[in-house]
């Protein structure tokens, strides 16, 4: 089961209904249930922890203020993420607050070992355990920086797929686009990301 649907259990409908009636306890439960996932997606998209906190806060305020208007045509999960992603994309476009540090300019800042590891991994010459990547902060920084160089919509589709692990259909629902658009956009996004990553060691 995908993580996107893993936490949507039977009582979510009840929880939403309780939130609609102004039940603060239900609202707290809903926030606790989604806050980390929404924050994580926002942070991966905007690459700025302060902005991510603000955007997460704003997302939940909008969710709880607008829950009366939630009509159930889409799932609450995709509806909530639609709010988060739209806010983040608008924020990035509006303020250009996205961290767009030039990898070329900061090549020297990256650890040579991390760059070598990344090069070997991408050229199919080496192997990397997922746990090793997660623990290598320098490698993570290269990946996040590379992500931030993607177009907003490409970054959104990659984050939703590879980080939030949404299905194509869910991504289409969140971004309000056709399924075929999700496929083509994701394909272009991964190709672009690969090129950006490879540019670090070329």
């Amino acid at each position: 089961m995908r993580s996107g649907t893993a936490n949507i259990n039977i009582d979510e409908t009840v929880l939403i209904e309780q939130c609609r009636r102004g039940d603060f306890t239900a609202m707290e439960r809903l926030i606790i249930r989604y806050q980390n996932r929404i924050y994580n997606v926002i942070l991966k998209m905007c690459a700025n922890p302060d902005d991510a906190e603000e955007l997460t806060q704003e997302t939940f305020v909008k969710i709880l203020e607008g829950i009366e208007n939630f009509n159930g045509r889409s799932s609450f999960y995709t509806w909530a993420f639609r709010i988060a992603v739209n806010l983040t994309i608008n924020h990035c476009k509006r303020g250009q607050k996205l961290v767009t540090r030039s990898i070329d300019a900061e090549d020297s800042e990256y650890n040579e070992q991390a760059k070598t590891q990344l090069k070997e991994f991408l050229q199919d010459d080496g192997s990397l355990e997922p746990s090793a990547v997660a623990q290598n902060r320098e490698l993570c920084r290269i990946i996040v920086d590379s992500l931030s160089k993607l177009d907003d919509t490409q970054r959104a589709v990659i984050v939703l797929r590879d980080i939030e692990d949404m299905s194509y259909a869910q991504i289409a629902d969140v971004l309000d686009i056709e399924l075929g658009t999700v496929k083509s956009r994701l394909s272009r996004a991964r190709s672009s990301l690969k090129e950006i990553l490879e540019a670090n060691f070329q």
Binding site: Y39, V61, L64
Partner: protein, 336 residues
């Protein structure tokens, strides 16, 4: 291998488990037979893995409290905004009510003006020197005509008016009028005077006697080159001039029961005179007076008294309402 968008989409779909069983079989066959496709698949898988293995960041511990605080703040602001909106609404409502009241007051004022213009007499300034002898025009009464006791008594009468007659046979006509006044026993004949070569007869009598006098005067009416009746209004000494007045028309005006009706009748006759003056042969007035047939029909004014000047008054008629009429006979040269 050349990176084909379609192959890439299929490979990405394969990686993400979004392909149908048939598509998966197809991709697996390609991977087995095409090393480049297999390599591309591995590259995409590694790219996906790199992003997917990024550590999951968690929201700050105080996120819940911050969200709650933000909600409370917004609720408070919303209440204040609501209060402000309510205040604005109340002000707006008050403004609308004031506007409505102002509109009503304005409407009443306009209606009052309209009603007053209909009910109240038309007026011009008492001090106005305007004295136009145009039909239906309101003119200021010339003060030189009536002075002294006669004028004061006239002011007390129900009908007040003045008949100005001009004739080339002044001596004969004047003598005839004098006799007619005496013959009709107008006891409250206030006397006559010669002013500026004109004879002025100030009459106070009831309607019947005046009708009788006018009936007598009908015999000499063709001798008048002009006959203008001035109907006085109750206030401000203003008059309505009716040119081309005939005995019948004068009786008609005097016979009206109220001041307003007299004014209306005078205006109507004045208007008819105007129409008549515009038509060749003066058909309208002749037809109204019953002297000639008329091809067009103009409704005759409704008379509240007799259509024709009555004969000699009966004894009881002496008790009728008093009217005041000043007859001014002025000479003109025959050539005029």
């Amino acid at each position: 291998m050349k990176e084909s968008p379609n192959i890439d989409e299929m490979l990405n779909g394969f990686i993400d488990g979004e392909l149908t069983v048939r598509q998966q079989t197809e991709i697996q066959r390609l991977i087995r037979h095409d090393p480049q496709v297999a390599q591309r698949l591995r590259q995409l898988q590694r790219c996906k893995m790199l992003v997917g293995t990024l550590p999951r960041d968690e929201a700050p511990d105080d996120m819940l409290e911050r969200i709650k605080a933000s909600l409370e703040r917004r609720t408070l602001l919303g209440d204040e905004a609501g209060g402000f909106s309510r205040q604005k609404g109340a002000k707006h409502l008050l403004g609308r009510r004031l506007l409505a009241v102002a509109a009503i007051v304005g409407l009443v004022a306009v209606l009052g003006t309209v009603i007053y213009s209909i009910v109240a007499p038309e007026s011009v300034s008492e001090k106005s020197n305007l004295y136009r002898r145009e039909p239906g025009q309101i003119v200021a009464r010339p003060e030189h005509i009536l002075t002294g006791d006669a004028g004061r008594q006239v002011a007390a009468a129900a009908f007040r008016g003045r008949l100005e007659l001009k004739t080339a046979d002044f001596t004969a006509v004047d003598a005839f009028i004098r006799r007619a006044i005496e013959n009709n026993g107008i006891s409250e004949y206030l006397g006559s005077a010669i002013q500026n070569n004109r004879s002025v007869y100030a009459l106070v009598c009831n309607r019947d006697r005046l009708n009788s006098l006018l009936s007598d005067m009908e015999n000499i009416w063709p001798r008048f080159s002009s006959a203008t009746l001035f109907v006085e209004q109750d206030r401000l000494g203003e008059e309505i001039a009716v040119t081309g007045a005939s005995p019948l028309r004068i009786v008609e005006v005097i016979g009206q029961n109220s001041y307003e009706e007299r004014i209306a009748a005078a205006k109507k006759i004045a208007a008819l005179n105007e129409v008549n003056a515009l038509l060749p042969g003066r058909q309208v007035m002749a037809a109204i007076d019953g002297k000639k047939p008329l091809s067009i029909t103009i409704p005759r004014p409704v008379l509240t008294s007799g259509e024709k000047p009555a004969g000699k008054p009966s004894g009881q008629a002496e008790l009728g309402e008093k009217v005041q009429l000043i007859i001014i006979v002025a000479p003109i040269n025959r050539g005029q």
